[in-house]
């Protein structure tokens, strides 16, 4: 199980899509390839934009299907971040 602390990379307001893409490409995807489970830990992250969450996970759902969500866990999300993650995962599954 791999834990990624979003705060350490993106800060308390997670909005930098370039950083989200880097997390996805350099950490999430290689670990999913190794059949690892991923914890995206949002502890201390106060807010995130839809664009950030989209850049973080949408391409994984698009390319690997909704089943990829079985191996990604979202931890310590406040209500706002939870909602944004729900929006992104929902519209991505609609698009698959």
């Amino acid at each position: 199980m791999i834990k990624i602390k979003i705060f350490d990379i993106a800060g308390s307001f997670a909005e930098n899509k370039d950083k989200a893409r880097d997390i996805r490409i350099n950490i999430i995807i290689p670990n999913l390839d190794r059949k690892e489970k991923i914890i995206l830990d949002f502890d201390k992250v106060e807010s995130a934009t839809q664009s950030f969450i989209h850049a973080l996970i949408s391409d994984i759902i698009k390319k690997r299907g909704a089943g990829s969500l079985n191996n990604i866990f979202f931890k310590n999300c406040n209500e706002i971040i939870k909602k944004i993650i729900e929006i992104v995962t929902e519209y991505m599954q609609d698009s698959v």
Partner: protein, 318 residues
């Protein structure tokens, strides 16, 4: 110019004279000038752009007492104009965000960190502000191809408890940005498309998403403005779309199609090469961001489905 706010910005934009590309004339009312920050963004963006093209900036010295505001917002400094004003700068406690040129992702990240303390607002109230700035500026950085990046500034007005924010660029404009996949017939159609959930210039799949974009950013921002019953103005190319204030007695309902909202528009304005966006955000009530996201989720999903369905081909029975 004299008094320009989003509500009455139309005559200001109509009077914007683009006939002489060699000279930028900046003039102002002698006694009284009161403008929305977006006007400062427009002058700055245009000044930077025209100077690069070798144009001259003719600046008529301001006489109005409000000239100090323009000075403090950094207009003269950015354009390297001699304002002939000698002002001792104090600690920024005036609740304003001076004009800032943002050219890349790192600039934006630093800007968001630095600007929030300048507004002296409670943390809950700054959430939507951070969100809006991030989404609007990232749109410029990703879609506008503007060499000068995004020009941003904002001002908090205590009396109305409202934050007024402007973002301007001199990039390719919304119509060109969407041209590749959507072929909008004019600038107003392009703005309407950009406000529609599920439309992004980075994928040809209608209602589809690319690795980095879902066509949701501007729809989120329009929804925020609508929920707080405030103005949102987008000016790009020859068109302007203005989301009007939602009347207080009218229930707020988020709508996917921006042309079904309470709005005004003009499709024959002087051509602005790029995009200008202005928003007002009343902070009287903390926006129920969670509730808003729930509504956005539904409208986004329904709107996207409708958009896709509109392109479905029907069987032809003969």
């Amino acid at each position: 110019m004299n008094s320009v706010w989003i509500g009455n910005i139309d005559p200001f934009i109509r009077s914007f004279d683009t006939s002489n590309e060699k000279i930028l004339e900046i003039t102002s009312h002698k006694k009284w000038v009161s403008v929305h920050p977006v006007v400062l963004c427009m002058i700055s963006a245009l000044g930077l752009f025209m100077r690069k093209q070798g144009a001259k900036i003719n600046y008529e010295k301001m006489e109005a007492t409000s000239k100090h505001y323009f000075h403090r917002m950094g207009l003269f400094e950015l354009l390297n104009l001699d304002s002939e004003m000698k002002i001792t700068s104090h600690e920024s406690s005036g609740r304003f965000i001076p004009i800032k040129q943002i050219k890349n992702s790192e600039d934006l990240e630093d800007f968001i960190k630095e600007m929030i303390p300048l507004l002296h607002l409670e943390p809950k109230k700054v959430e939507p502000i951070k969100y809006i700035i991030s989404e609007l500026v990232r749109n410029v950085l990703e879609h506008a191809f503007a060499p000068d990046g995004a020009i941003v500034c904002a001002q908090y007005y205590k009396k109305s408890n409202t934050l007024r924010l402007g973002v301007a660029d001199t990039g390719v404009g919304i119509k060109n940005s969407l041209q590749l996949f959507y072929h909008p017939r004019n600038d107003l159609s392009a703005i309407a498309l950009a406000l529609t959930p599920g439309v992004t210039g980075t994928t040809k799949k209608l209602g589809g998403v690319s690795e980095m974009n879902a066509g949701a950013g501007l729809f989120f921002i329009k929804s925020l403005a609508k929920t707080s019953r405030d103005f949102l103005m987008i000016y790009s190319g020859s068109a302007m779309y203005k989301l009007l204030k939602n009347p207080k007695n009218r229930q707020i309902k988020l709508i996917a199609d921006p042309l079904k909202d309470h709005y005004s528009s003009d499709n024959q304005l002087p051509y602005w090469k790029g995009t200008v966006i202005a928003i007002d955000l009343c902070l009287d009530q903390t926006i129920d961001f969670k509730g808003l996201l729930t509504s956005i989720r539904k409208v986004y999903s329904d709107g996207k489905k409708k958009l896709i369905k509109e392109r479905y081909r029907k069987p032809k029975f003969i």
